[in-house]
C-alpha cells in the first residue's frame, strides 16, 4: 500500500475564458469576414474551451493593412525610448497575470502547470523585458556605419508547443526594432496569444501595431502570400517551412525559419550519471517531447549502455502522468488527437522495425490525449524512429564506441537545431561541441534558455536566430 501517495494538488487560479473570440485587428476585437469559427479544445479533457474566429484572406488583408497604417502613422516614427515603455508595460502585465496565463496555457495546450508556471510564462516576460531594453540602443546591434532601421510589417506564425513563449520570442524583438506585426497563433492553441492581444490593448499599444489573426494553415498561407508583408518569421514543421521558403522566394520578403529537429544527446561513460539521466529525462519528456530542440536521439557510449537503460527504466516510473493542472504532474496531455495519432504511428513503426520499447507503467486517464513516457533500445541509425521527428515523449537510444563515432552519428541527420553532451571531462565536452552541427549545444545540461542567448538551427532545422543581439538583427533592415 502506498504510504506517501501525493494527493491531488490542482492549481486553483481561474483563467477567464470568453465563450467566443474575434480577431484582434487595428486595436479592436472584430468578427471574421468569413463568418466562421472553430473550437479550441482542452486536450486533457477533450472539452471545448472557446470558439475562435477563423480568419480568411480578407481578414488577413485587413490585419496587414492595419499593421501598415500603424507602422507609417505611429510606430516607425515613435522615439525608441517610448517604444520601450510599451514593451516594458507588456512585460510587467505578463508578470502580474502570470498565474492566469499559466493556467490558460496549460488548459489550451495540455502542458503541466509546473512548466507553464515556471518556464513558459516567466521566460516570455523575460523576453519582453530584455528587448524593451534594446529599443533605444539599437545602434549597438549594428555593424560600424550601419543605421538601425525597421523592416516594416512582420508576419509571424507560431507553433502550438510553446504558444505564449514563441509569440514573445517573435513579438518582443520585432516591436523593439520598430516593426508592426500580424501574429498567427497555432490552430490548437490560440488562447494565450489572444490574451496577449488583450494585454497589448490594455497597455495602450497604438492600434494596429499588434494584430492577431486566428485560423489554420490556410490563414498562415494567406499571411505568407500577402504582398504587403515585409518579413515572415515562422516556427513549426520543416515541411511547412519549406513551403514558406518556396512561396517567399523572389518576393524580397525577409524570412527566418525555426523548424524541426532530431537532436543528438550524447552521454559518455564518464558522465556524472545521475545528472545525465536527469538531463535525458528533461531533454525528451519536458512538455511531452513537444519540443523542437528535444534530445530525442540518445547516443550512449556502449560501455555505459546497460547502466543507462537500467537507470532510465527506473527513473521514468517516477514520472507522474495525468491532469496537467495538478502541480505534481510531470507529463501532461499530448497537444491534439492528430499529434497523438502521429506518435502512435511512429512508435508502431519502431516496434515493427525491431526496436525494443520500454514505457512507464501507469494508467492513462480515460479522457484526453495521453501517451506514456517511452524509450526504445536496439535502435538502428536507419530506423524511422532514429531519423524522423516524433515530437512526443519517445526517446530512441543508440550506441557509439569512440568520440569520433559519436560526432559522426550525431551529425548524421538532415536536422541541426540542438545537441547535448554529458561527460565529466571539460576538454572532451568542448572538443565534441565544436564538431556538432547544431545551433545550440548544451554541455552537462539541457533545455537552458535565456533571452540574451541566440537560438536557431542548421540545415533543415531552419535559419536565422531568435534571442540576443542576433535575434534583433533579424528585424532590422541591413
Amino acid at each position: 500500500m502506498a504510504i506517501f501517495e501525493y494527493a491531488p494538488a490542482p492549481e486553483t487560479t481561474q483563467a477567464a475564458i470568453r465563450e467566443q473570440y474575434g480577431l484582434f485587428i487595428d486595436g479592436k476585437w472584430t468578427a471574421p469576414r468569413t463568418g466562421q469559427y472553430f473550437d479550441t479544445v482542452n486536450p486533457a479533457t477533450e472539452e471545448t474551451l472557446a470558439r475562435i474566429a477563423y480568419a480568411g484572406e480578407e481578414d488577413v488583408d485587413r490585419a496587414v493593412r492595419a499593421a501598415r497604417k500603424a507602422y507609417d502613422k505611429y510606430w516607425r516614427k515613435m522615439r525608441p525610448a517610448d517604444r520601450a515603455k510599451y514593451i516594458y508595460r507588456i512585460a510587467r502585465a505578463i508578470t502580474e497575470r502570470s498565474r492566469e496565463l499559466a493556467v490558460l496555457e496549460t488548459m489550451d495546450g495540455g502542458k503541466p502547470i509546473k512548466e507553464s508556471r515556471d518556464f513558459d510564462v516567466p521566460l516570455a516576460a523575460a523576453h519582453f523585458f530584455y528587448y524593451a531594453g534594446w529599443a533605444d540602443k539599437l545602434e549597438w546591434a549594428m555593424r560600424a556605419g550601419e543605421e538601425p532601421k525597421p523592416i516594416g510589417v512582420a508576419g509571424q506564425i507560431v507553433p502550438w508547443n510553446f504558444p505564449l513563449l514563441m509569440a514573445a520570442w517573435k513579438l518582443a524583438p520585432a516591436l523593439a526594432c520598430g516593426n508592426t506585426i500580424v501574429l498567427k497563433p497555432a490552430e490548437t492553441t490560440p488562447l494565450t496569444a489572444l490574451a496577449l492581444a488583450q494585454i497589448a490593448a490594455e497597455a495602450d499599444l497604438p492600434p494596429g501595431v499588434l494584430n492577431v489573426v486566428t485560423g489554420d494553415g490556410a490563414t498562415g498561407a494567406a499571411l505568407v502570400g500577402h504582398q504587403d508583408v515585409d518579413k515572415i518569421a515562422f516556427t513549426g514543421s520543416t515541411e511547412v517551412g519549406k513551403a514558406i521558403q518556396r512561396s517567399t522566394a523572389g518576393t524580397g520578403k525577409r524570412l527566418t525559419l525555426e523548424l524541426g529537429g532530431k537532436a543528438a544527446h550524447i552521454v559518455f561513460a564518464d558522465a556524472p550519471m545521475d545528472q545525465a539521466i536527469e538531463g535525458v529525462v528533461n531533454g525528451i519528456y519536458f512538455n511531452q517531447g513537444h519540443v523542437c530542440c528535444a534530445g530525442s536521439r540518445l547516443l550512449v557510449e556502449e560501455s555505459a549502455h546497460e547502466e543507462i537503460v537500467v537507470r532510465l527504466t527506473d527513473r521514468i516510473q517516477t514520472l507522474r502522468l495525468g491532469n496537467p493542472l495538478d502541480k505534481n504532474t510531470d507529463v501532461g496531455a499530448i497537444n491534439s488527437k492528430m499529434q497523438l495519432d502521429k506518435i502512435k504511428e511512429l512508435v508502431g513503426s519502431g516496434v515493427d522495425e525491431g526496436a525494443t520499447l520500454v514505457q512507464q507503467s501507469c494508467v492513462l486517464p480515460e479522457r484526453g490525449y495521453f501517451f506514456p513516457a517511452s524509450f526504445f533500445t536496439n535502435v538502428q541509425q536507419s530506423h524511422r524512429i532514429a531519423r524522423e521527428e516524433i515530437f512526443g515523449p519517445v526517446l530512441s537510444i543508440l550506441t557509439f564506441r569512440t568520440p569520433e563515432e559519436a560526432v559522426e552519428k550525431a551529425n548524421n541527420t538532415p536536422y541541426g537545431l540542438s545537441a547535448g553532451i554529458w561527460t565529466d571531462k571539460g576538454s572532451k565536452n568542448m572538443y565534441i561541441a565544436q564538431y556538432l552541427r547544431a545551433g545550440v549545444v548544451w554541455c552537462n545540461t539541457f533545455n537552458q534558455f535565456d533571452p540574451s542567448s541566440p537560438f536557431g538551427g542548421y540545415r533543415e532545422s531552419g535559419f536565422g536566430r531568435e534571442g540576443g543581439v542576433h535575434g534583433l538583427r533579424e528585424y532590422l533592415a541591413h
Partner: protein, 292 residues
C-alpha cells in the same frame, strides 16, 4: 573510478523535488511519518539529566492532547546521558541513540574514539552516531577513514551504526558521494549528513546525492542502508521535501524508521502545529504544545 556529480543539474533536480505540492491527506501522512522517523535530539554542552528526562517524555508522547500522534523513533544524546534516557524509555519503542567517536570533530586518537563508542554501548545505547575524520578524508587518506568505520562497526556489533559524513565540511558533491560510497562499503547501517555543529547542515542536493549512493549500493550488493538527515531541519515543509526525496530516489519502501531518520529538535513542534492545523483547520499557538 568514483562516481561524479554535476552540481548544476543536481541542484536543479533537488529544486524540482522541493516544489512537489504536499497537501491534505498526504500532508497528514507525511507529518506522522516524519514524527515516526525522528531522532529527537539534544546535543548541547548544557544538557542535564533533567533536560534529557523531559526530552524522553516528549519523544514518547509528543502531544498528549493528540493521542494518535506516534512516538518518535529515538532520542539522540551525548554518551554520558545514555543511562538517564535508557531508564526513562525502558519498555518503550523509543530507541536511545548516542553520538560517539569524539563527536563532533572526531579529532581524537582511535583508541579514545573506540573507547567512547564502547562506553556508550555499555551504558545501553541502541544506536551509535559516529563521525568520520574529515581531516583524513580531505587529505585523501580514504583507506584510513574506511578502516576506522570498519573498526567502529566491529565495536558496535549488533548495535545500529550511523556514520556522520559532515557534508558541510566536505566541500563538493563529488566528495559527498565519495564519502557516502566509502561509508557504505565500510558497513554503515545509515549514512548521516551532519552533526548540526557547523555552518552548513543537511541540504536537499546533499540528501539527493546520498540517496543515489544508497540506491546504487543496494543495487550492487542487495544491502539496503538508511539515510539520516540532520541539522537545520526546522519546518514541516523541509521535512516533507526530505520525504519526497526519499520516495522519488529510493522508493516508498525506504520510508520507514528502519531506513530513514530525521535528526531534529524544534522540528517536532512545527510538525505538531501543522498536524493539528490539518485536523482542525486552524493553527494553535506555540503554548498549546509542550516545549522542549
Amino acid at each position: 573510478m568514483s562516481v561524479t556529480v554535476d552540481a548544476v543539474m543536481l541542484e536543479t533536480r533537488a529544486g524540482s523535488l522541493a516544489k512537489r505540492s504536499i497537501k491534505t491527506t498526504t500532508k497528514v501522512a507525511g507529518i506522522r511519518l516524519a514524527i515516526q522517523c525522528m531522532d529527537l535530539t539534544t546535543l548541547e554542552g548544557k544538557d542535564s539529566e533533567g533536560r534529557v528526562r523531559s526530552l524522553c517524555a516528549k519523544a514518547l508522547h509528543p502531544a498528549p492532547h493528540l493521542p494518535d500522534v506516534p512516538s518518535v523513533a529515538a532520542v539522540c544524546i551525548y554518551p554520558n546521558l545514555v543511562p538517564v534516557a535508557k531508564e526513562a524509555l525502558r519498555g518503550t519503542s523509543v530507541k536511545v541513540a548516542s553520538v560517539a567517536t569524539a563527536f563532533p570533530s572526531g579529532l581524537s586518537s582511535m583508541e579514545v574514539r573506540l573507547a567512547d563508542t564502547l562506553s556508550a554501548i555499555a551504558a545501553g545505547a541502541d544506536e551509535i552516531d559516529m563521525v568520520i575524520d574529515r581531516g583524513a578524508f580531505l587529505a585523501g587518506r580514504y583507506r584510513e577513514v574506511h578502516d576506522e568505520i570498519v573498526a567502529v562497526k566491529a565495536a558496535c556489533g549488533p548495535v545500529h551504526l550511523k556514520v556522520i559524513l559532515e557534508t558541510g565540511e566536505l566541500g563538493s558533491y563529488d566528495a559527498v558521494r565519495r564519502a557516502s560510497d566509502l561509508a557504505l562499503e565500510a558497513g554503515a547501517d545509515f549514512i548521516k549528513t551532519s552533526t548540526g555543529k557547523v555552518g552548513t547542515n543537511a541540504t536537499f542536493p546533499v540528501a539527493v546525492t546520498m540517496c543515489e549512493a544508497i540506491r546504487d549500493y543496494a543495487r550492487r550488493t542487495g544491502r539496503r542502508a538508511g539515510l539520516k538527515v540532520a541539522g537545520g531541519v526546522r519546518t514541516t515543509k523541509q521535512a516533507m521535501t526530505y520525504l519526497v526525496i526519499i520516495k522519488e530516489t529510493l522508493g516508498e519502501s525506504w520510508l520507514t524508521p528502519d531506513l530513514f531518520r530525521i535528526g531534529a529538535s524544534s522540528l517536532l513542534d512545527d510538525l505538531l502545529m501543522q498536524y493539528e492545523k490539518e485536523l482542525t483547520g486552524h493553527y494553535a499557538g506555540r503554548d498549546y504544545f509542550p516545549m522542549d
